[in-house]
């Protein structure tokens, strides 16, 4: 359609979106998906996408940086694929659209909290519509390395009204499973040092002036974030996973819960 329009700018010629083209056929899991279900959203959803039917499942793993989240996500993806599931891994700041922009905005300390929050929401919405929802429709298990809960917790810690954040993320689907890797800030800080030897500015909450001392700021900030997750636990049905244990133990715990869930769906 667009290609026959000389009035449109050159860049616009490629404007037709083909969300499915990014995904291979999920033949591995074909034939044993559960029935189609209507996709449920937290709020108003995206009214222009009417009556979305999905076959896949959305599993979220939340947790602070250095909680082992990404490692576990990878291990779980490998295991699920070995079991014959088609899996799509996704995470924050990975959208085609604006991930670069987010980094620029972070480097620019003049950016306000509401601006950053909307920026992350836009990035997330892009992945949702272009990757996550198409994959769910096609019967994938979508494994999300963080979801809206981190974004809402960050907002709340920075003084943005809870109700505003909740409404903002009303366009997001309700996951089937949500895990939170619960690691004590005191333990977390050592894992960060083992990994990077420096603390990240934002992950230490340095932008909100908790302490001039970065180490102290990190502990306070991560403590506040953990409290936010505690508050969200019941409301959103987060399963807290004790992340202070050895990696294998945490892995086994997560795998067992995911297997149990997926077996129930057959």
């Amino acid at each position: 359609m667009a290609s026959s329009n000389p009035e449109l700018e050159d860049d616009d010629q490629e404007a037709v979106r083909r969300p499915y083209s990014m995904l291979p056929e999920p033949h591995a899991s074909a034939g044993r998906d559960g029935g189609q279900r209507k996709l449920r959203f937290y709020g108003h959803g995206m009214p222009y996408l009417k009556d979305l039917e999905v076959k896949g499942h959305l599993i979220v793993i939340e947790g602070p940086d250095a909680s082992g989240r990404s490692t576990h996500t990878q291990t779980i993806q490998a295991k699920l694929e070995a079991d014959g599931h088609a899996v799509l891994g996704t995470g924050l700041k990975r959208s085609e659209l604006i991930s670069e922009g987010i980094i620029e905005a972070k480097g620019n300390l003049g950016v306000g909290k509401r601006t950053l929050s909307l920026f992350y929401a836009a990035d997330f919405a892009d992945q949702l519509e272009n990757k996550i929802i198409p994959a769910l429709e096609a019967g994938y298990v979508v494994l999300a390395d963080r979801y809206i809960y981190t974004l809402m917790a960050r907002n709340n810690v920075r003084g943005i009204e809870r109700r505003w954040s909740r409404s903002l993320f009303g366009f997001t689907p309700v996951p089937d499973l949500i895990f939170y890797l619960d690691v004590k800030p005191e333990e977390l800080v050592h894992r960060v040092f083992q990994k990077n030897s420096i603390l990240d500015y934002y992950e230490s909450g340095m932008d909100i002036g908790l302490s001039d001392d970065m180490y102290k700021s990190f502990l306070i900030y991560q403590g506040k974030m953990a409290k936010e997750f505690e508050k969200m636990k019941k409301l959103f049905g987060l399963q807290f996973i004790d992340g202070n244990r050895a990696i294998d133990q945490v892995d086994a715990d997560l795998q067992a819960r995911i297997d149990a869930f997926l077996n129930r769906q057959r």
């Binding site: 667009a2 329009n5 860049d11 659209l97 922009g101 009204e161």
Partner: protein
């Protein structure tokens, strides 16, 4: 009511109050009619479809205010340096969905609000907004976002002291824009909504729907309709007269000079 004579000279006896509007950062000093308070910022917004002449009117208003040695700041829709580049990248790639389109514009607005609009209002500036939250309401709702969701996103923003809606028959506005056979951009023409394969036809339909949205919110949002089907100078006299009401008991300069003054007063 002879509002055009010369700055509403305090006819209304209401005292200024310090009021809070919106939530969170939306708090600011609000003025009511009465005594002039140089420390209370004034927020003036113009709205209307492309080709309604609103930018021309805002420019003339800006000149008038500056001529009176008032502190003026003008801000335009979709103009944040931080966000603009990223937004236009997404637009060029044709990657935006109604939700991401909405959120990127919300990010742009938030950046301008947090950095400019709010601090300048607090500093007592006349902040002139060429398009404000009502543009987002109209466009995003036409694109299929949920009205309550869109409104909540902008709920933190201060409501303007006055919003002038430049009302013009949609055919007139569209003809003005299309007269030069411009190269319409993909989203500008509303091509993402599949209204028509012809960009010009799509643009017409899209603009018509935007007008419907504006008309439906005139009363509920308190927009002041200005008949934009008149001469530029005639409209400007009315604009200045309406803005002069925000001056309380401060004298305003003449609304215009020359023969137009009488013309505007009739």
């Amino acid at each position: 009511m002879d509002q055009t004579k010369r700055g509403g000279n305090g006819g209304v006896g209401r005292r200024r109050t310090v009021a809070r509007t919106g939530a969170g950062t939306g708090a600011r000093r609000m003025r009511t009619e009465g005594a002039w308070d140089p420390a209370a910022g004034r927020l003036i917004a113009v709205e209307g479809v492309d080709g309604s002449g609103k930018s021309t009117q805002l420019h003339l208003l800006e000149q008038w205010l500056r001529h009176q040695n008032l502190k003026v700041f003008k801000t335009e829709w979709n103009s944040s340096e931080t966000v603009k580049e990223i937004t236009s990248r997404g637009k060029k790639k044709g990657l935006l969905t109604p939700t991401t389109f909405s959120l990127l514009h919300a990010t742009d607005f938030a950046d301008r609000y947090e950095r400019n609009i709010l601090p300048l209002l607090e500093a007592g500036y006349f902040v002139l907004a060429d398009r404000y939250i009502f543009t987002a309401y109209a466009r995003d709702i036409v694109r299929g976002c949920h009205p309550a969701w869109v409104r909540k996103i902008y709920s933190y923003a201060a409501k303007p002291d006055i919003t002038l809606y430049f009302r013009v028959p949609v055919d007139v506005a569209v003809s003005r824009i299309l007269a030069g056979r411009p190269k319409l951009k993909y989203y500008e023409a509303g091509m993402d909504m599949n209204l028509s394969n012809d960009p010009y036809e799509s643009y017409r339909i899209f603009q018509g729907r935007i007008v419907e949205q504006y008309e439906s919110m005139l009363e509920s949002e308190g927009l002041v309709a200005i008949d934009a089907n008149r001469g530029i100078e005639e409209q400007q006299v009315e604009v200045r007269a309406r803005v002069a009401k925000l001056f309380g008991d401060r004298e305003t300069g003449p609304l215009t000079t020359g023969p137009l003054k009488e013309h505007g007063q009739q």
